[in-house]
Every structure is written in structure tokens, then in C-alpha cells.
Symmetry: D2
Subunit: 78 residues, 4 copies
């Protein structure tokens, strides 16, 4: 599902409303603090767009980004 | 599912972990601000216990409590 | 502080870390549900960028946007 | 500020409203995931009560609880 381009993983996610979208963001935020790796992301109402890239190694896609992507897929698809 | 006793609605909810439990609480918090009606609730790791009662009418169960209970059931059971 | 351009209000906010940035977003999210008016916003670690515009009246800046801007200033500046 | 009794640290915190109380809880939740140590806590509108104890070593107060207490004091008192 994730698009890999410009040395980053990108994906957009749709929800039924803002309530559902922001609680999804809260799950991602809690996980981000757990693995100390944070997304670049934007939100408009029921849409969340996420871009994953590891800055500390020169803006590349690393295993941390894939771990985040897998977590996001798991909570979005369930 | 909700137990009505002592003029309040009570129910406990179990989740797979704290991440899932707290994002559930975030959904309830956002809805609480939307309808301006707030729960009494507690959390330990993956468990959330909620008590609903309307203080402004003398601590009774009102339609606001049932609206909150229905919202909580909807997001928990899906 | 807010820049009005392209029929929207825009402003960026810096925090000490992701923890502080995301709890600021949570405050804005709770208020957004309360007034039923939602921001376009993005976040990277400790930076939050917000754009306010009222879509329902043809993408203009309205009193709802200014109410949101005042709330954000109040919680950011305290 | 924290009361140590029954092998736990306890403290209550007051805020101006639910919005401020729940974003405080969000800060604590994000930190809890970061250090993998979670509070027992309850909330009613603008009041948050927190109890800290380490279950994995037989329900005692450990350095993890004091780390959490110091973080909470830091974000509450600022």
C-alpha cells in the first residue's frame, strides 16, 4: 500500500469523521514515542497523510520507517 | 451491556494494550467535548472503566448519558 | 501573529519536543469538535503548522476561523 | 507534593476545564509509552487523580514511578 518515492514512504488514510481520524493519529503518536521515531503528517477532517523517512541517516527509508508503516497498516486495516 | 445502579450507568472495557485503550479514551474525550457532557472514568493499562451520570439535574441518568453510552458501544463493538 | 493569505489564516508553532506538540494538537482537536470547525494542519516532531479556512462558505476566513485562532493563541502563549 | 502510601505514589491535579485536563493526560500517556510504565488514573472533568506503583516487582514504588512523578510535576508546574 505504501508508495516509496523521494526516499520516503507515503500513504493517505480516510476515516468516517474527524473523531476517528484523530484517534488514529493518537495511536500513531503513542507508537512514535515508544520507538522514538516520528512521522511527517498532515490532517484535514477525515483524511490523514503520512510520510516516513529517517532523518538521522541522511533522509533514507530504514527499518524504523517500515516498522512504523507496519504498525499503521495493522491498526488501519483491522 | 451497561449496568444502571446508584443513578449512573457503568461499564468496563478491555483492550489489547495501553495504546488501544488510550486512543479509545481520546474518541470518548472528543465526543464529550462535542456534546458537552463528560464521563467519570479510570484507566489501568488496557482497561477503561466508565461511569455516566448527569450532575446538573441532581445526579441522575439522562438522555445525555444514554447518548454517550450509545457512542461508546458503537466505537467499542465495531 | 497569524498571516492572512489565499483566503486563509496560517501560522506555525514550535514546541520543545513531540510530546508537547502532540498534546497541543489534542487541545486544538478537542476544541475543533466543540465548535465543529476543523483545521488543516501538519506536524513534524516539535513543529505544528495550522491553516484555517471555512469551506462551507466558499473557502473564506470567517468568525469560526478567528475563534479557532484566538483559542490557539491563548493556549500557546500562556 | 506526592503522597506515598500503600506502596504507591498518589496525587490529584486540577485544571481549568476538561480540554486542559485531557491534554495533560495525553502528555502523561505519551511519556508512559516512552518509558513503558503506566499510571492508574481517573478523571472527572477538570480533575485528574494519578496513582503510581510498579506491579512487576510486587507492587512497590520504584525509580520508574519517581521518573513518572517528576515528569508529571514538570509539565504541571510550568
Amino acid at each position: 500500500m505504501w508508495t516509496e518515492s523521494n526516499n520516503s514512504l507515503e500513504q493517505s488514510f480516510l476515516f468516517s469523521d474527524f473523531n476517528e481520524a484523530f484517534s488514529f493519529m493518537t495511536r500513531v503518536a503513542l507508537y512514535a514515542e515508544q520507538i522514538n521515531h516520528h512521522p511527517e503528517w498532515s490532517n484535514v477532517y477525515n483524511k490523514v497523510t503520512i510520510r516516513l523517512q529517517t532523518h538521522s541517516v541522511g533522509n533514507k527509508v530504514t527499518e524504523l520507517d517500515w516498522a512504523m508503516a507496519r504498525f499503521i497498516d495493522k491498526i488501519y486495516l483491522r
